[in-house]
C-alpha cells in the first residue's frame, strides 16, 4: 500500500490489520498507550510514517495528528521519509568506534552506492545510517539490516553482506 501525494490514500487499518490492532488495544487500559505499537504496524505495512498515516493513526486512536507527530519525531526508528529496501544501521558510538566502526560505515557506503550516510542509493535498495549504541558493544561492530541483527561486522565482511541482501 502506498500513499500518493496526489490524493488517493488507502487506509492501513482495515481488515486483518485492524483486527491485529484490536488485539493490541487489549494490552493497555487506554488507546493512547497503543500508539507506539500502532506506529510499528503502520511502518511495517507502509514502509515509512507519512503525514497521512499519522492522521489515520490519530483517528483510530482518538488523538490529534499534531500529538502523533510529536511522538513520531521523538523516536529515531520511525522513518519520516521513504528509505531504501535495505535499511542499514551501523553503530558508531565510542566502544564500536575504537574497534573500527567508521571503516564499516565507509565500506557499506562504497559497496552499496548509497553515497552519503542517510541518503538512499539511486536504485532505491540501500539506505545506510550511523546510529548511536545498538547495545552489543562486545560484538563490535553490530549492524542492523532491517530486522536482522549482525555481529562482529568488519569492512572485509561488507562485500559479502551486500551481495546477500542485494
Amino acid at each position: 500500500m502506498t500513499a500518493s501525494h496526489t490524493g488517493s490514500y488507502e487506509p492501513v487499518f482495515v481488515g486483518a490489520v485492524m483486527e491485529e490492532l484490536q488485539s493490541v488495544f487489549q494490552r493497555y487500559p487506554n488507546k493512547q498507550a497503543a500508539l507506539l505499537p500502532t506506529l510499528w504496524i503502520a511502518q511495517r505495512e507502509h514502509g515509512w510514517i507519512s503525514d497521512r498515516i499519522m492522521a489515520e493513526v490519530a483517528e483510530v486512536l482518538g488523538l490529534t495528528p499534531a500529538y502523533v507527530k510529536g511522538v513520531v519525531t521523538f523516536y529515531t526508528m520511525y522513518h519520516q521519509h521513504p528509505v531504501g529496501k535495505n535499511f542499514v544501521q551501523v553503530c558508531t558510538t565510542s566502544p564500536c568506534n575504537i574497534c573500527g566502526a567508521e571503516g564499516v560505515v565507509k565500506a557499506f557506503l562504497e559497496h552499496t552506492g548509497a553515497g552519503d550516510a542517510g541518503a538512499t542509493s539511486p536504485d532505491g535498495k540501500w539506505t545506510i545510517v550511523e546510529v548511536e549504541c545498538l547495545g552489543a558493544c562486545g560484538f563490535a561492530t553490530p549492524v542492523l539490516i532491517n530486522d536482522d541483527f549482525l555481529e562482529n561486522v568488519t569492512p572485509e565482511k561488507v562485500p559479502d553482506i551486500v551481495k546477500k541482501y542485494r
Partner: protein
Amino acid sequence: MGFPHKPHPKETVVLSQYFGDVEARTHKGWVKRGGYEALAQALKMDPAAVTEVVKESGLRGRGGAGFPTGLKWSFMPKEKKKPHYLCVNADESEPGTFKDREIMRWTPHALLEGTAIAAHAIRAEIAYIYIRGEFTEPWTIMERALAEANAAGVFGSIKVYLHRGAGAYICGEETALMNSIEGKRGNPRIKPPFPAAAGLFGMPTTINNVETLAAVPPILKRGAAWYKGLCLSNPKSTGTKLFSVCGHVQRPGNYEVTMGFPLKGLLYDMCGGPPAGRTLKACIPGGSSVPILTREETESCLLDYEGVVEKGSMLGSGGVIVFDDSADMVYQIMRLARFYAHESCAQCTQCREGTAWTTKIMERILSGQGKTKDLDLLLDLSENMTGKTICVLSDSCAAPIVSGIKKFRGEFEAYLAGKRQPVMVG
C-alpha cells in the same frame, strides 16, 4: 560464562549458566533445568514474605543505580486500592552494556519467571517488559517464550506483555519509560511523586532491570543466605553480577563474577587484556555515564558498588569499556558527549544546551581550533550540567568530560598547543 567464550574457572555462573544452551530457551528445556519451580514456590507465599527474602538477600538494582530491590518492592502500597503495575526495563542502551540482551537471548524464561515473582510480590496484575526497538532478536525470542509460558499457564492471574521501544536512550530512565508505554514522548518526569505512589498510568508501579529480575528465581530457590554469602569484599554488595566487557580487550563478552571480584582479574585473566603489544590506558567501569578510571585505578579496583566508588567512579550497569594506548581520549570523550547530545530529550536547558555545547567545543579542540580557555569552559559547563536537571542524562555527559580532563589533560593540551595532528570530525 563469557559468551561466546567458554566459562572461565574464576567465574561464578548463576545467571549465565545456560548462555549458549539453545534448549534452555524453550519452556520445556527451562522446566527440565529446574525452571518455574521458584515461581510455583513464590505463588504459594504471601507477597510480603517474598519481598522479605529478596530484602534479606541484599540484591541491589543491576540497571545502574544499585538501589536495594526488596526495599523498592516494599514501597508499594500495603493496602491495594488501585491497580498495581510492574515495568521491566529491557531498554538496555547504555554504551558498553550488553548483558540484558544476553539474558533475553539465552534465558528468556529466567526473565519471565523473575517478572512473575516480582509482580506477585508487589501485587501487580500486569507487567510490561519494555524492550528497546533495536533488539530484534531478543524480541523474537521473548515473544516465543512468552507464548509458551502463557500456553503452559505458569503466570496464574498475572498478565505479562511485551512493549517495543522505538529508538530513544532516555526511555531507559524509569519515568521516561513509563511515559513511553503510555504512548508519549519519552520525557522523564519530575519526582516526587515516585513510581510506587504514582507511576504507570498514574498507578503504583515498580520498575526493575532485566538482570535484577533474572536473579530473583535463584534467590528464592537457594535462599537469601546463599545469595548473601556470594560476596568477596563489602557485605553491602552481594550476589553475582554480569559484566559486559568491550573495546580493547582480546576476548570481549559477558562475564559473571561474585561481587567484589578484582577488575584487573576480569580484564586480564578472563578477557586476555589488551591486544598484543598494547597496554591498557583507561577504563570506564560501569557504562559510559560513569567517570573514567586511569590504568592504576583500574588495576586496583574491586568490582562492587563500594569498591568502584572508592576509585572515584561507579559500578553502574557493569558495562566495562577498555581503552588501550592507541586510543585518542579526546576523540573518544567527544564521541560520548555526542551520544548524550543526540539522546537528550531536550526538556531541561542545562542538558539540551550543555550536551550540544560541550560536544561542539570538543570538536573544535580536535579540529585544531581550540582555545586555551576551552578546558575551563568545558569544566564550567559540566558543573552547570550536574545535579540541576530532571534526570541524570546531563550529569552522565559531564562525568566522562570532567574525569577525562582531570586524568588525561595532557592529551587535550596537545591539541590546544598544535602538537597533535588535527582530526576531521564529521
